[in-house]
Amino acid sequence: MADIRAGRLDAAVIAENFGDMLPAFSANEARVAAERCLFCHDAPCVTACPTSIDIPLFIRQIAAANPIGAARTILDSNIMGAMCARVCPTENLCEGVCVREVSEGKAIEIGRLQRHATDAAFTAGRQFYKAGPPTGRHVAVVGAGPAGLACAHKLATLGHTVTVFEARDKAGGLNEFGIAAYKATNDVAQHEVEYILAVGNITIEYRKRLGRNITLAGLKRDHDAVFLGMGLGDTNDLGLGVEPEGVLDAVTYITALRQAPDKAALPVGRRVVVIGGGMTAIDIATQTKKLGADEVTIVYRRGKDQMSASPYEQDVAQTHGVTIRHWMRPVEVVAIGGNLSAVKLEYTGLDGGKLVGTGETVTLPCDQLFKAIGQSFVTADLADAGGQIAMSDGRIAVDAERRTSLAGIWAGGDCVAGGQDLTVTAVEDGKRAALSIDRVLRGAAVAAAE
């Protein structure tokens, strides 16, 4: 009988487990950290930031006792600076190229400093932005995730009216539903959404899903421009046939976990296996461990270096007691009486660069198995576009301005091809698209006036 139950740990222990993994800096810690910054010329950290935040400037502002001014510097480039401070894989971005990382192996703690600044602005209730002078133009944004909200915010500050269509009944996208809970404590994702919406001229219509109760053709007809930022609607499947009870989708579970008022009420297996090598795999593994799972094993079909989860994230999982096993793939889920009892894994290897099974297998008993092998775009959502939107690698193709192949339609975030599936890149997509939309709408206004 599969051992899956709620309340494996005391509620108090679970609450502590889901506290801030990396606590906020005190003012003194922030000053000490900030004073290490060299204020580099043409700083590599800025180049590495997808949203090009002027990092040396905001750190200098913190060092000069102006954390709220620092927040303005951050938010001017990245309106989701508060969440990005918590979820960016900084070791692969700004901190990875920090000259103090390169020279001493100890980067400036840019992410934590960014959090210090944005927290200061939020705590003080400082709103830096307001809606621009009305242009009379109306833009539809699909999806209230990082890409959609960043786009909507920029458009509103430029004077356009924005309606955001969100499939769920809450805004925030993966920041709200997908990121590990211990990275976004104290409801920070919702505070950020509120901050963005406070600019005005943005309306969100909830429970509106493209292809279900709204259509692209309709949006185009009723608005001057459309931005698509609906993310990835589907998760990939193991392809092992009928799944018994106990095989779960990691994204769905994390969504439930993020929204659960009492995390101790979430049922979790005694022995958990996670299939995948990305951030979602790390997040589900670490969080099931925090919920009290006894043994948690991540199984990844390739090696450590091929995992898309950063080395830092892998360390997080391992220091929480998660075992990561490489070069293995599931070939069979074993069930007893319709309930999962084990997973049969095959060792893998490379044959001329191609991943192949070696034929050797091992069976790992487990009560719960999470699929975390990526998400995919639901192309059916784009039906009724009034034409064919060009796709690339199964996602929407866009140019540097985030224009799709159809005039009047822009796209960004995880639903477009070539991205890194990060909050920060989604924000940049939304920002760039908004500027492009603004140029087009203003050009049209000029043309109309002539």
Binding site: R36, H41, D42, V99
Partner: protein, 444 residues
Amino acid sequence: MADLRVTFAGIRAPNPFWLASAPPTDKEYNVVRAFKAGWGGVVWKTLGEDGPPIVNVSGPRYGAIHASDRRVIGFNNIELITDRPLQTNLEEIKRVKKEWPDRAMVVSLMVPCDEESWKTILKRVEWTECDGIELNFGCPHGMSERGMGAAVGQVPEYVEMVTRWCKQHTRMPVIVKLTPNVSSVIPPARAAKKGGADAVSLTNTVNSMMGVDLDAMSPWPHVGGKGTHGGMCGPVVKPIALNMVAEIARNAETAGLPLSGIGGIETWKDAAEYLALGCGTVQVCTAAMVYGFRIVAEMKAGLADWMDAKGYRTIDDFRGMAAPKVTDWQHLNLDYVVKARIDQDLCISCGRCHVACEDTSHQAITNLVNGVRRFEVIEEECVGCNLCAVVCPVENCITMVEKAEGYVDPRTGIVVGGHRTWMEHPNNPMAKDPKPARMADPAE
């Protein structure tokens, strides 16, 4: 092993590290702790004349300038001379000197500017059997408004007069402590020498305001909403004091006057610099106030280790060696050429050298080479100013390389090897015998 013993103005001490007249030398308790820690001597905090005790503010007396990590690099105070009864101080001085006979015990004094006042206090101080006295002619706040301290030190005639009274009325060596709050330190130093001073010590604190409190809209720190200027010390004043020491050491009228160096000494190296300019002892206050007395262990060991490495047996072996190298600008060799060199193995690519050079006017450091982030010196533009080396966060990554004889400076075309000062430069209309530059042969 290096011998750190010194004899200064006839006063013997086991090492040149003395505590300056200041809060750490205000009473027996502290001075005994200092001697236990290994200080070679102290200048007891300034005594005034007998009478009602001095009254200090009960608000903040000290302010500071901080560098990264809150390191105190500048410090100031508005504290007055000792606020303890004269007799108490005298008894403690006598007792400590008796218990610590090998350490230098100098007593700082400040009384009104009349002969009788000085005569009176000198007799009472002699009773302590201390080794000498230091005349506080430098304190810039509180006492100067009452005609003492800097008010005396800024008037050479008073310096000479009071020094002479002291020499007349005591057998003790007299050290005159000079104020930096003058346009030139030479007149008061000369006056001290004329008055018969056995030595001068310098400098006292620099007139200063540490900041402005932008909430209170008053000086920072302030006493009940109002603030006043104080005396600044600490690492930021070391360059001021070093220059004044050098001025006295190389001036024909004051050269040879024993000097006790004071100002921003935190490590053995700071002390060695004062000694190299000719000082016979150094006095420390701020570093002891910030870090405690045990810093002297580093100072003594560091100085001895450096002397051993250099082969100096006694302090006199190197004392004053740098003084003859101090000169005036017009005597510098204008044909001497250095160019910056960036050690690419040490470079961390922060780009600070580039932007400093770019924005400061020489544009002599690249930021991209063949499209790649790289910082290299453009010798055609480099004037050898040292700015890049100063701003570089990595020690010894950027060095100023002396160009050998025969090097043709691509910036000026001048061949290195000549020696022309401004006195001989053709651009100087006052040059008596101008020498042309040695230029590269254009045919080459």
